[in-house]
Subunit: 408 residues, 2 copies
C-alpha cells in the first residue's frame, strides 16, 4: 500500500483493508479520535461504538515533526525502526509490549493494543502513585532485551544482522547526540529560556571535567554496539498500573551501549525523587522511589547474570575456552562496567533535562523558582557525580548513599 | 555481467569487454599466468607480450577457499568488501594503494596495478632488508585512514553509512573472532601440530588472566565501531621497496576498533624482531626494526593529532562546546586509549601466531627447535605483557624497553 497520511476520514477505509483489524471490530461503526500526546507522530484511538471495550491505537509517522509542522521535516523512516523494535521486543519479552495487531513499514503505521487501564509513569509518579510490581517487571524487560540482543547471546551472524536492521536510524540517534550529549551543556538557542543567566547553568557549562566526561559517553553512545536499545527509556515511555508495566515508543531504537537504557530509567527515577524532595513530599513515597532504584539495579544484574549463566555459547564465548569458575570473574567485571556506564548515562540524561530543550514535567513545571532551583541543584549534584566519578562507584548501596547525601 | 569463474582461457574475453583495460593493453596478444600466492582467491598476472612492462593483476574471489577447494565454501562476497575498502582507502590515501583499473562486485573481481618492483614485507624482513621510508609511509596510511573514517571526522550520517557498507562482512570477521581471539588459546584441532604437548602452549592455554583479557579485546573487536579497518594488516599484507609502501588485500575490512590495525602491524614487526634475535641476526637490522616500531607508534599519533587539530566539527564535536585548550586534554587521553588498545591487539595477534592455525614464516619455519622455541618464548612474553598490562604502559619508550627486556 502506498504511503498516505491518515486522518479521521480515511482511517476506516484503511483498517477495513486489513483482515484481522476488520474482524477485530466486526463492524464499520467506529469512533475515531486523535489523541495528541505525541510530539513526533499522529496517534488515533479507534473504538467500536457498539462495544466500546473494543479499542485499538493507531500510530502513524508523518514526514515532519508533528508538533512543529511541515517546516520541520523528519523522515517517517523513524516508524520503520519503531515497528522493528516493537516486533523484536515483543518476541523477547512480550508481556511488556502492547499487543501488536498490525504493522506496515510502507504506511509508517502501527495498530496496537489500547492501554486504557494504564497511565504514563511520569504522571503517575507526579501523582505519587506506588507501583509495587514495577521494579520486578522493568528489570526483567531490561535483562531479557539487553541480554538477548547482545553478543553474549547471539552468534556473530545474528548480531551483524541485528545491527543492519537498526543502523540507519541516523536521524533519531543524531537527536540524542545533539540534545542529550551536547546542546544542553553549552550556550545554545535550543535551551530552555530560564537557562539564560542561571547560576547553575553557568556552572554546568563551565564544568570542564563534566563536559569532557560527557564527550567520552557521547563517543560511547555513537560507537559501542552492545545490544538493541529502546533508546529513549524515560518514565514518559512507560505505561503502567499497579499490576502491569508496558514500554512504548521505541522509535529511537538502535544497537548501542548496554548502560544507555538502564541509565535513562535510573536518571528519570532520580529526577522524580529530587522533585519530591524539593516539594517536600511524604517520606514513604520518596523511600519507595529509592527502593525502586535499588531494586532495578540489583534485579537487572541478577536476571542478566541468570541468563548469561545458562548461555553455553555465543559470538563471544566458545565452549571449553575457559573454565566456568574463571568466567564468573569475567562476568562480574563485565557487569561492573555496565553498572558504571549506566550511572554515567543516567547523569548525562539528568543533567540535560535541567536546561536543555526538553525538561521533565516534575521539575520544570514547579512554579516556585526557589523550589525548582533546589530540585535542579540536587539533580545536577548527583548527575555530575555519576558522570565524573562513576568508576569509583562499585555498589548499588553507594548509589543510594550518594542520592541521599546530595538531597539532604 | 553475471558471475563466472575466470581462468587463463576466458580472461581475455572478459578484459576485452572492459574499455579502459582493452585500451591499456592495446592488443589481444597477452600473456596470462596464475600466481598462486593467495590462500583465499585466484590471482592472475596479465602482460602485454609486445610491451611486457604493461602488466596488470586480476584478483577474483571464488565461492570457496581457494587453498582447500570447493569443499570449504566461503562466500565470494568477501571481494565486495575488499573492493569497497580498496576504493575507499584509495580516496583517502591513494599513494599507498595499488592503482585500481577495474572493479566489479558482480564478478567479485578487481584489476589493478602490478607491483613488480615490490616484495611482500614479511619476506623482505626475513631477508633483512631495510626500508628507510616505511615508518613514515605506513604511519601516514594509518593516521589518514583511521582518522578520516572515524566519528572524529565524519558526520553522524556519513559514519552510519560507512558502517552499513561493511557491516555484513560477517564471515571474515568471524574468522578473526575464531582464529585470532579464540582457538589459538585453547586446545583445538585447528592449531599447529607442534602445539601438542608443547610446554609453552600448555602454559599459554592455562594463563587465565591472559585469556580473560583476550575475551575483553575480542568483545571490543566485535562491538567497537571506531573506524574503517584493513582488518588484517600484518607484514604479509604490505608490499614495498626502499622507496614505496603499498597495502594490499583488505578483504577483512570492517568498522572496528582503532587499535586493531596498528596492533596487527606492531605485533608482526615484533615477531620479525624476536625471530632475528633468536637467529642471532646482526644488531643493525634488529635496531632498525626497533626504530620502526618506535617511529610507527610515535608518528601515527603525531599525524592523527595533526588531522584532529585541524578538524573543527564532526559527529563527536560541536563548535563552541569546549575551549580548544580543554580539548587538547581530551585528545591526549583518547590517544592513550588507542595506544593501549593497539598494544593489547598486538599481543593477541602475536600470541595467536605461535600455536594457532596460521603461523608466521619467520618463526614457524625456523628448523632448529631450540631456536624456534626461543623465538616463541620471547614473543609470548611480550604478548602477555601487552595483553595483560597494557593499561600500565603510557609511553612508546616503555614499549621498546619491554621488547628489549624480554629478548635479552
Amino acid at each position: 500500500m502506498e504511503y498516505e497520511i491518515l486522518n479521521k476520514n480515511n482511517i476506516v477505509k484503511y483498517i477495513n483493508s486489513i483482515n484481522n483489524i476488520r474482524e477485530y471490530f466486526g463492524s464499520d461503526d467506529l469512533y475515531i479520535d486523535e489523541i495528541g500526546d505525541g510530539n513526533l507522530n499522529y496517534v488515533f484511538i479507534i473504538k467500536s461504538i457498539e462495544h466500546p471495550k473494543k479499542a485499538l491505537i493507531l500510530k502513524q509517522a508523518v514526514p515532519y515533526l508533528r508538533c512543529v509542522g511541515e517546516e520541520y521535516p523528519l523522515s517517517r523512516e523513524r516508524m520503520t525502526f519503531e515497528i522493528r523494535a516493537l516486533e523484536q521486543f515483543s518476541k523477547i519479552a512480550s508481556s511488556f509490549i502492547p499487543k501488536l495487531y498490525h504493522t506496515s513499514e510502507e504506511m509508517s503505521c502501527v495498530i496496537m493494543e489500547y492501554l486504557d487501564k494504564h497511565i504514563i509513569m511520569r504522571e503517575g509518579m507526579i501523582q505519587k502513585t506506588i507501583y509495587p510490581n514495577f521494579a520486578e517487571q522493568i528489570s526483567t524487560y531490561l535483562a531479557q532485551n539487553l541480554f538477548k540482543t547482545s553478543s553474549l547471546h547471539l552468534d556473530s551472524t545474528q548480531k551483524r544482522e541485528l545491527i543492519n536492521k537498526y543502523n540507519s536510524n541516523t536521524q533519531l540517534c543524531k537527536l540524542t547526540e545533539d540534545f542529550v550529549f551536547t546542546f544542553a551543556f553549552m550556550e545554545h538557542e535550543t535551551n530552555d529560556e530560564y537557562a539564560n543567566n542561571h547560576k547553575l547553568a553557568k556552572e554546568l557549562f563551565e564544568d570542564i571535567k563534566f563536559k569532557k566526561a560527557v564527550l567520552n559517553y557521547k563517543y560511547k553512545f555513537m560507537t559501542q554496539s552492545d545490544a538493541l536499545l529502546h533508546g529513549d527509556l524515560h518514565t514518559g515511555s512507560i505505561m503502567l498500573n499497579e499490576e502491569e508495566t508496558y514500554v512504548i515508543d521505541p522509535e529511537f531504537a538502535f544497537v548501542g551501549p548496554f548502560g544507555f537504557d538502564i541509565g535513562a530509567l535510573i536518571g528519570n527515577l532520580i529526577m522524580s525523587y529530587t522533585s519530591h524532595v524539593a516539594l517536600g513530599s511524604k517520606d514513604d513515597y520518596k523511600e519507595w522511589i529509592l527502593k525502586v532504584i535499588e531494586d532495578v539495579l540489583t534485579k537487572f544484574e541478577e536476571k542478566f547474570l541468570f541468563l548469561w549463566n545458562k548461555q553455553e555459547e555465543s559470538s563471544l564465548f566458545t565452549k571449553n575456552y575457559m573454565h566456568e569458575y574463571d568466567l564468573e570473574d569475567f562476568r562480574r567485571e563485565f557487569m561492573l562496567g555496565i553498572f558504571q556506564d549506566s550511572l554515567a548515562f543516567a547523569g548525562c540524561k539528568m543533567a540535560r533535562r535541567m536546561f536543555g530543550i526538553a525538561g521533565v514535567a516534575e521539575i520544570r513545571n514547579i512554579e516556585d523558582e526557589k523550589i525548582r532551583d533546589n530540585a535542579i541543584e540536587m539533580t545536577l549534584e548527583i548527575a555530575k557525580m555519576f558522570v565524573k566519578k562513576n568508576n569509583e562507584i562499585t555498589k548499588v548501596s553507594t548509589v543510594l548513599h550518594i542520592i541521599k547525601e546530595k538531597t539532604k
